[in-house]
Amino acid sequence: MAAVLLSFLVAPIVMIVIVSFWGATEYSIYPAFQFDNYEFLFGSSVTYRVFLNTFKYALITWAFTLVIGFTVAYYLAFEIRSLKWQIALFLLCTIPFWTSNIIRMISWIPFLGRNGLANSTLISWGVIDEPLEWLLFSDFSVILAFVHLYTLFMVVPIFNTMMRIDRALIEAARDQGASAWQSLTHVIIPLCKPGIMIGTIFVTTLVMGDFITVRFMSGSQRANVGRLISNDINLLQYPSASATAVVLLITVLIVIGLLLRLVDIRKEL
């Protein structure tokens, strides 16, 4: 266990940090200790734009997955009364998680394309006259795919904490005259915080580290940090890819550090 993590988690990261100081020619990389890569990275306005874009994706996706995930988890935990149905519906939500992400991305294309289902339906209803161009290969489709892929990471932890809320607490709230809305905001949401936090950590880190969804759903027209890295890799510019990776890693760790301040994961399992 420790060995695997050491050789395939710690070592690679150390390696990335080392290589991020190396130099590169067009064909090869050579060991060195220089800050060129970082200088270039921080000197370029593209970097800031791309990082900003990454945060934007993470934030919007987070907001959507939180609302959808919370609602779904609430429905499963409180509105469904029998355990058998709860498990069945829960599994119904989890099954797509076990199928291929790539396929799930591809499957949006016939849906959103210029002659896709969404456009032709809207046209036949008379809502629009011309196909909407922004449905596919845009920020919209990227975020749609993120929400589609990652909402589950929100549903599962929130559902988990909800199932452990003592039902007597909610009854108590009702007995004291709280409306359904009040018991939701004053009892359920505070008690779900750990689940919400874990879901948040998952969603933000997955979105921030992603490159394939962005590349695919934007038709290579949008960028986030992951794509910056993968572009460098394609050009064999490993040192500059590593430098970007280090910055990304630090950013992600800061975000997680902030979130972890708010919850102790280990206690919540």
Binding site: M1, F8, L91, R104, P110, P157, M163, L249
Partner: protein, 278 residues
């Protein structure tokens, strides 16, 4: 049946939409994969046929679908076995505090949340610099473990947190050795959750993309192959492939659920496999 409030129906509708949102696109490509031979990547359907499925079995202009499928399958099984064994051992070890246990725990969490492209890049670089060839069964295998192991371990934590220690004590009082206690008491109790861990290990590996990208070497796994196809194949053959692998995934999930169900039926007490998944 008691009367339900209006919010129940509203939320049911919402849930229905959510499920549609989850499954709708997959169904679309499922339908589109039966396009007639002249059909394109979107609707309308031009006839219905199995043409593209046949086409899948023919020689392809690009790539080696069946080879990559076999590799993905083999890799998935390797990752599955390793994940199950290591996470059980890890779960057992973590029941007691040991030196470095919390460090190791945070490493696991870190491993889950670190962007997967970093693992891919780092492992690729190491193999590159040492001079080892990257291969799906060595570097690819290792980088996938950084994703499946923490999942498995977290599930085992959840299981052992709910585990009643008095069963073990009872076994020990009756004179069972440590191994007998494990094999005859602990293992049967956690078995349904182990099936869950196995399912995670296999499917996560089978579908893994980013971590394998730079570590698979010259032989692609299936997700890499599919991704390659998306950039240069413009016929519904890709939908046919997508449908087939999705059906395959569903079959695997079905097999695992069947196993859980059989296990929990054999025993009297109810299974906690559902909770174990979390």
């Amino acid at each position: 049946m008691e009367k339900r409030s209006r919010s129940f129906y509203l939320l049911s509708a919402f849930f229905g939409l959510f499920v549609l949102f989850l499954y709708g696109p997959i169904l679309t490509i499922g339908i589109l994969s039966f396009q007639g031979p002249e059909g394109g990547l979107t609707f309308p359907m031009r006839g219905a046929s199995l043409y593209w499925f046949y086409d899948l079995f023919e020689e392809q202009a690009v790539g080696d679908i069946w080879g990559s499928f076999r590799r993905s399958l083999a890799l998935g099984l390797m990752v599955m076995v390793t994940t199950v064994v290591v996470s059980v051992l890890g779960g057992l070890a973590f029941r007691k505090k040991f030196a470095g246990s919390s460090l190791l725990f945070y490493l696991c969490i870190a491993s889950l949340v670190i962007p997967s492209i970093l693992i891919s890049l780092g492992v690729g670089l190491i193999f590159n610099q040492i001079g080892l060839p990257v291969h799906w069964a060595s570097s690819g295998f290792g980088s996938q473990l950084t994703w499946t192991l923490p999942f498995g371990l977290l599930i085992m934590f959840a299981v052992f947190n709910r585990f009643d220690k008095s069963y073990e004590e009872a076994a020990r009082d009756q004179g069972a050795t440590a191994w007998q206690t494990f094999a005859h008491v602990v293992l049967p109790i956690i078995a349904p959750s182990l099936i869950g861990v196995a399912l995670f290990g296999f499917t996560l590996s089978y579908d893994e993309f980013a971590r394998t990208l730079l570590t698979a070497g010259s032989y692609n796994t299936l997700p890499l192959e599919i991704f390659g196809m998306t950039t240069n194949v413009t016929t519904p053959v890709i939908f046919a492939l997508g449908t087939l692998t999705t059906v395959f995934s569903f079959c695997i999930i079905g097999v695992f659920f069947l196993a859980v169900w059989l296990f929990s039926r054999r025993k009297d007490h109810s299974s906690d496999a559902g909770q174990g998944m979390v």
